[in-house]
């Protein structure tokens, strides 16, 4: 790991050299010697407010490299020197995890590793921290994951593990933070960690969240995801974390490391009354959407929604759209299908996924299944997962909470009642079932309403499951 101690230019803090200081999420270059032009260093601009050169903190490593290359003497005061962080009990890695670590290392410890859910991304992260032995911050999307990461790191790390978020603020050399809390405090913490792990890295690449990675000086960055984004978001992630350095899909690991699974699509029909209501709602929003798309070809649904809220007609269209979604969420045919699937797999551990919380509660009431949603407290969720593990609860129903990262005990059947998040969500949900077990084959049922937008949705989301690197394993 690069650090202030080992950096060549930093060995002597002579008054004549440039001083690099961390200032609230930026790097300031002070006391530049006369006649040396540093304004073309990476990310650097002249800040007339303080009469000094300034760069976003993430450019710190590149600035140091460039100063060293130009043989400009500099004193790096961004990081305080710290001892190595330990002791660690490094977890054993599977061959593909080890390859992923190697690939990341080769990429100068900047990059995204794409691995399916259930393939042990956290373990890879812990190994990266253990091998680096430098102060590290793990950023995770939710409070549920916060607790889980703290627990898992604690089992491998001998020191105290810091926790930032969910009402806690303990900063240690190894700290886990939610995206939100990390963002709020990165202007103060941006020079405390030399390695940043970004869990579920696909959340980055657009929007305010990216600020956390801009304001942070950490030279080593490891992104983890099962579902890397494409397009401009991918470019931005490459800039903030690093390029994708290693990639495997569910298909690549099925059999040896992940349980095989069957995907069964049940095509269902709306009953006549439901269909009438659905046709009426579609008749309201579709013409408005089509008219908008004619005006703005290539626009997204989000563009339409943004424009629509401004007019009375647009708001009517949005309301109709929401109503049509609600009609498809849990119509009578899906109710009947869930009932018969629960009966058919009476002895199995089942996860039911819905498109939204309201439907999760509807399923819960109707079939007496425990819901796992953001409204259920952390303690109750943990207790419920425990009882599910022990077999006292036979099924859990959830819209989003079970999608990402959270460690769900072995389940063998999933019923996908609805989903709107596409391929990414689908890959994550199926990943919940794939913890391998002797002789296990998981079954995934997708409930799709015939003749509606759900058919195309289902087709699209299956695309994320195909193997990417058949030759590797």
């Amino acid at each position: 790991m690069r650090s202030a101690r080992s950096r060549p230019g930093a060995a002597l803090a002579l008054p004549s050299g440039v001083r690099l200081l961390f200032d609230r999420g930026t790097i300031l270059l002070r006391d530049a010697p006369e006649g040396v032009d540093l304004s073309d260093l990476p990310g650097v601009l002249w800040d007339p407010r303080v009469r000094a050169l300034r760069a976003p903190a993430r450019h710190h490593p590149a600035i140091c490299d460039e100063l060293t290359r130009r043989a400009v003497r500099f004193a790096d005061e961004v990081y305080r020197t710290t001892d190595d962080v330990g002791p660690w009990a490094e977890p054993p890695l599977r061959p593909y995890q080890d390859s992923a670590h190697w690939a990341w290392q080769e990429a100068r410890r900047r990059g995204v590793v794409v691995l399916p859910t259930g393939s042990g991304k956290t373990r890879l992260a812990i190994a990266a921290m253990a091998r680096a032995r430098r102060p590290a911050l793990a950023l995770v999307p939710t409070r549920v994951l916060l607790a889980q990461w703290v627990r898992e790191i604690s089992s491998a790390f001998g020191g105290p593990v810091g926790c930032l978020g969910d009402g806690e603020r303990r900063i240690e050399a190894i700290t886990v933070a939610t995206f939100e809390s990390g963002w709020r405090q990165m202007d103060q913490l941006g020079n405390r960690f030399e390695l940043v792990i970004v869990d579920e890295a696909h959340h980055f690449g657009s929007g305010a969240r990216d600020e956390v990675l801009e304001l942070c000086a950490a030279p080593a960055r490891l992104g983890l995801t099962a579902t890397p984004p494409s397009g401009p978001a991918a470019d931005r992630i490459a800039e903030l974390i690093g390029p994708t350095v290693f990639e495997l899909s569910v298909g690549d690991l099925t059999g040896r490391y992940l349980a095989p699974f069957q995907l069964v699509t049940l095509n269902l029909d709306l009953d006549p009354k439901e269909r009438d209501a659905w046709v009426r709602t579609v008749a309201v929003y579709r013409p408005a959407l089509r008219a908008f798309m004619r005006e703005a070809p290539g626009a997204t649904w989000l563009d339409f929604a943004k424009a629509a809220v401004r007019t009375e007609e647009g708001r009517r269209a949005l309301a109709a759209f929401r109503e049509s979604r609600a009609l498809l969420a849990f119509p009578s045919a899906k109710r009947a299908a869930v009932r018969s699937l629960l009966a058919r797999h009476a002895g199995a551990r089942i996860l039911v996924f819905t498109s939204d919380n309201a439907t999760a509660y509807a399923v819960s009431r109707e079939h007496l299944l425990m819901p796992i949603t953001c409204d259920i407290s952390r303690g109750e969720r943990a207790a419920a997962l425990d009882r599910f593990r022990r077999g006292e609860l036979r099924a859990l129903v959830s819209a989003r909470v079970l999608n990402e990262g959270i460690d769900v005990p072995d389940a063998d059947v999933a019923i996908i009642v609805g989903g709107t998040q596409g391929e990414r969500e689908h890959v994550q949900r199926i990943g919940r079932l794939l913890r391998p077990q002797e002789g296990k084959t998981a079954v995934v049922y997708e409930l799709v309403m015939r003749g509606t937008s759900e058919v195309a949705q289902a087709r699209r989301r299956r695309e994320g499951l195909a193997p990417r690197q058949p030759a590797l394993l």
Partner: protein, 386 residues
């Protein structure tokens, strides 16, 4: 922070003009407040639905803003015969134990064990969800106050999307500048014509590269403090709905004020004032004296001290309790250039500033946790000030 779709403003040329609520809006605001009262005792989701409905006389965008605010202030409670968490644990475990049993039979058996009716058990199941909680009568709200609070939220929402802010103000510049510095903003204060006029420029360190929401929030936090100046005019460059616009706020805008800015930044200062007065009874200590003009930039020392019978030997004392190396370097640089020599800077020792950063003209007292009044007295009593 206000979501973007609630930022109601008119675009005129480069300007975005906030659509503030005023006198004319009070009647429908009153109606919405009354509705909050009328819906007390009913599930929160019913109140939400009511506040979403159009209201006679209420412009749609303003009503959505007020509804958002009222729902934020609403209180609620859980009402259920069985605590919801217990109800869930009992019923879902019972159903897990006997998956083959009919739903109604499971509910009846479980309700019997808990000593309630099946309907009461089902009613308890999700009674703690945010939308199922029971709305309570709000604390008595005055429509005038709600109007001002809505305007404050609107102004802050706009400023949260600002790159930089310039404020011309009269009176209490100290409180504004201090508030900004405490929020991590870069603040440069210059004196305009006249004694009490100042111009303050505020921006986040990152503003050089692009707008960040993190510092936008800090900029928004300045708004309510401005009510404590005699006059102000604030101009901000903001990105609103994809447009670069200028937002102007000024004295007289109907914005809810913050509570009075605290006179002391910290207990640290309060304690120092007490210690110094006790230690040096023949010295006068003045809290928050007038600003020092250092090359056009204003400084606001925390204290002025002088011997009781020799006001000419006057020193300023500033406790730098919250700072970054950059903040301090910048400040020292300005003092050095302005040749301000009768200033004692008290600096938190934990940051261990190198000696070369201290201008030869300024005295420096390091401290840890508590500023040693005796050390400050040593400096001011031993040295002849100019």
């Amino acid at each position: 922070m206000l979501p973007a779709n609630l930022l109601s403003c008119e675009f005129r040329g480069l300007a975005a003009i906030p659509r503030f609520l005023g006198e004319a809006d009070r009647p429908w605001v009153r109606t919405l407040i009354d509705e909050c009262e009328r819906f007390s005792g009913r599930p929160v989701r019913e109140l939400e639905a009511r506040l979403r409905d159009p209201s006679p006389g209420a412009p749609d965008d303003k009503r959505r803003l007020v509804a958002y605010l009222l729902l934020g202030m609403a209180r609620s409670r859980v009402e259920s015969p069985v605590p919801p968490r217990e109800a869930r644990a009992a019923l879902f475990t019972a159903s897990g134990r006997s998956p083959a049993d009919a739903r109604d039979a499971v509910i009846a058996r479980c309700a019997g064990e808990l000593g309630v009716s099946p309907a009461a058990l089902l009613g308890s199941l999700f009674a703690d969800l945010p939308s199922e909680r029971i709305a309570m009568a709000p604390p008595s709200l005055d429509p005038g106050e709600v109007v001002l609070r809505a305007n404050l939220a609107l102004a802050q929402g706009l400023l949260a999307r600002a790159h930089s802010v310039t404020i011309a103000l009269e009176g209490n510049a100290r409180a504004v500048a201090r508030h900004a510095t405490l929020r991590g903003l870069i603040c440069s204060t210059t004196r305009s014509a006249g004694d009490d006029l100042a111009s303050i420029e505020l921006s986040g360190p990152f503003a050089l590269f692009r707008r960040t929401l993190l510092y936008g929030r800090a900029l928004g936090a300045i708004v309510p403090v401005l009510a404590w100046t005699r006059r102000f005019k604030l101009q901000a460059t903001c990105d609103i709905r994809g447009r670069r616009t200028v937002v102007t706020l000024a004295t007289g805008d109907p914005i809810f004020p913050s509570s009075e800015p605290r006179r002391f930044d910290s207990r640290l200062e309060e304690r120092f004032a007490r210690d110094f007065a006790r230690l040096a009874p023949d010295w006068v200590i003045v809290r928050e004296p007038e600003a020092i003009d250092a090359g056009g930039h204003l400084f606001f020392p925390d204290f002025a001290v002088h011997p009781r019978f020799d006001p000419s030997r006057r020193w300023f004392v500033e406790i730098v309790g919250f700072w970054t190396p950059e903040y301090l370097a910048n400040k020292l640089d300005r003092l050095r250039r302005a040749r301000v020599s009768n200033l004692v800077l008290c600096i938190d020792e934990e940051r261990n500033l190198g000696d070369r950063d201290v201008p030869a003209t300024a005295a420096l007292v390091r401290y840890r946790r508590r500023v040693d009044a005796a050390k400050v007295l040593d400096v001011v009593a031993m040295t002849k000030a100019t």
